[in-house]
Symmetry: C2
Subunit: 383 residues, 2 copies
């Protein structure tokens, strides 16, 4: 049931003709209240797409009644005209729903630098508004898919309340569409400030730690809405825990469905001086094309792990670093460890454990391999 | 004639059996004087290979009589034993040449994390010493090749003196071998300090601006030797100009022969507030897998240029940035410019011109596309 699993939400997904394939491409998620508290996290790219610029303003109020999403076009780098298109989309959605435009967030995904076909999008919004249903979550999840092979949805049940969610593609994951869009809903009663803190914390340890190719989208948007329809008011820690569970579930689904990927790689950096150091070292590995191609080739090339973290400023002594790949400590003290021939990389799951011996903090970054299929899909996207 | 084009240098390249193919794999370059001034630039990776650690100490003297180089093994992340191997190589080379070990630099390239087969390497050095010849430059250039399809050599003739050079692979270019090794020679009379300044400047605007995949090697080494055999003492500016010409020539050869590449891409960032900003923005493009796969697919996907520079802290206003690809200004003011269909990307050479309108500095970064062949070669390297 995805975003419509919690009480008081309706959703829809329709085909408006934005995608030449005729697949669903417009989704609508509506919060019927009673409360309309909301929170969001957006891309930090300095070229935020028009819908990000719009939604950032809307979400500044901490209130939201609806999110309209489209695939088939990112509406990024489209100038003032593109912003007008987003504004018109919000106005049209609001009119269909009897709301004000400021109650409506917009999210888009697709090719950058192309105007949206508004003559198709706006009728699509009208159709979506008519199709809104309390069991419409799965349709909405399908309508935001781009190169995703399956819809990504989640439901986290708690005592008398729940969190629902849907996601598409990935900002840095299935990135030919260069966007991760996520909508989370809950029927718990949560004020906006608590929701924002919980959402920031949840994405920080889940979606933001998935780094498939280091490419930061212009459109990444994660929106959370809380309506209190369950009548339950959980504590802040409970909200944070449930949102983290939902966001982590979606993040792992994004990882598993990343374009062209053949491996899910969890890079854990342990005994770092700071969490920041652990993240920096982990990301350096996740963004190292030589390591990622080696793993695609089932090659436990641990030298490329050291070469990657050797470019960072994380605190460590080079002759104290250990690297363990799928349980085999192939590098000890920055030098040759157990035989690399003992590492079995034939499965999809790979764990790389880097021990910096420089402190007591740790973090995990999730990434994928760099495959021939990745290059193929991303070289053929817009043409 | 490469490194033996200037007077007073001898070189050799022999097959010692380090490569299973039987191809040449040990090179020796000897400076017969009268002077032995030298300079070098090394990788900044925090896991410098054993030969880098050794050569950095040797070059601290500003003097050098010989460089011994091997392909077929990087001798990186091999611990104290690996350093002993490098030391033994320098000692053995020095003994063959009647020098001290401190007169001999060592450079290695190949797989990280594997010990060198010293029982093959040392006899190879003996053979190379016997084969030293005043016309041995081409043999040396061939012996340092790894996946290079052609040797890279250069000769820059000046009035009564010259600079010769050879290079292999690329630190960040043909990086499955993860190393760029360069030896430059000149028969000009140049003191060590002048040579170091000239070399640092020359590599800074050439070899260090080639960034094919952002992967920094553990072994990158650029050595320059000046012996004064020509009797000419050029001015510092003349030395800098000639070294820059030689290093640029080699850098462009590395770019053209990058593993699996189908495009040579020059990214020029203009009107930046600082050269640093221009380099940061250029490198962000050069390291963006989505842009590189798009260019492999002949797709002028300028949105990926903006998405890349949008992740940097370079000074610019997003609505003032222009992007021109192969002469077509596809993006104006951060929005849609001339039709992308007008861009012809079918040739090997691609120019991307980013105008930040934030100052008056500029810099060019050279890179390659991300191709299926790149993934194939780099996934199959060590196994």
């Amino acid at each position: 049931m995805t975003v419509t699993a919690p009480q008081g939400f309706r959703a829809a997904g329709v085909a408006a003709g934005l995608k030449s394939s005729g697949a669903p491409d417009v989704a609508l998620v509506v919060n019927d209240g009673p409360q309309d508290n909301a929170a969001a996290v957006f891309t930090t790219n300095r070229f935020p797409a028009a819908p990000v610029q719009w939604s950032r303003q809307v979400l500044a109020t901490g209130r939201l009644r609806a999110v309209v999403l489209n695939s088939g076009g990112a509406n990024a780098c489209t100038g003032p005209e593109g912003f007008s298109d987003t504004h018109a989309t919000a106005e049209h959605t609001a009119a269909e729903l009897g709301l004000g435009a400021v109650d409506v967030a917009v999210a888009s995904t697709g090719l950058i630098g192309v105007r949206l076909p508004m003559d198709k999008l706006l009728p699509g919004v009208t159709d979506a508004a008519k199709a809104l249903a309390a069991d419409g979550g799965p349709d909405a999840a399908r309508a935001i898919m781009t190169t995703d092979s399956v819809p990504k949805t989640t439901v986290v049940q708690r005592d008398g309340w729940s969190v629902g969610g849907m996601a598409k593609g990935a900002g840095m994951l299935a990135p030919s569409l260069a966007t991760m869009l996520v909508v989370l809903t809950t029927d718990a009663a949560v004020d906006s400030a608590t929701l924002q803190t919980a959402l920031k914390g949840a994405t920080g340890v889940s979606l933001e730690r998935v780094d498939s190719d280091g490419c930061l989208s212009t459109n990444d948007t994660v929106v959370a809405m809380a309506n209190g329809a369950s009548g339950v008011t959980p504590g802040a820690a409970e909200v944070a825990e449930a949102l983290t569970a939902a966001a982590t579930d979606l993040a792992m689904q994004l990882l598993a469905d990343a374009e062209g990927s053949t491996k899910d790689i969890a890079i854990t950096v342990r005994n770092a001086a700071t969490v920041g150091d652990a993240l920096t070292a982990g990301r350096a590995c996740a963004r190292n094309n030589l390591l990622k191609t080696a793993l695609f080739g089932n090659d436990p090339n641990w030298g490329r792990v050291l070469a990657a973290i050797g470019t960072t400023d994380a605190a460590f002594e080079p002759d104290r670093v250990d690297v363990t790949i799928n349980g085999v400590t192939v590098c000890r003290g920055g030098a040759i460890g157990d035989p690399r021939e003992g590492v079995d990389l034939t499965g999809r799951a790979i764990t790389i454990d880097v021990d910096l011996r420089a402190g007591s903090e740790q973090a995990t970054i999730w990434t994928n391999d760099l495959s021939i299929a990745y290059v193929h899909e991303n070289s053929a996207y817009s043409t």
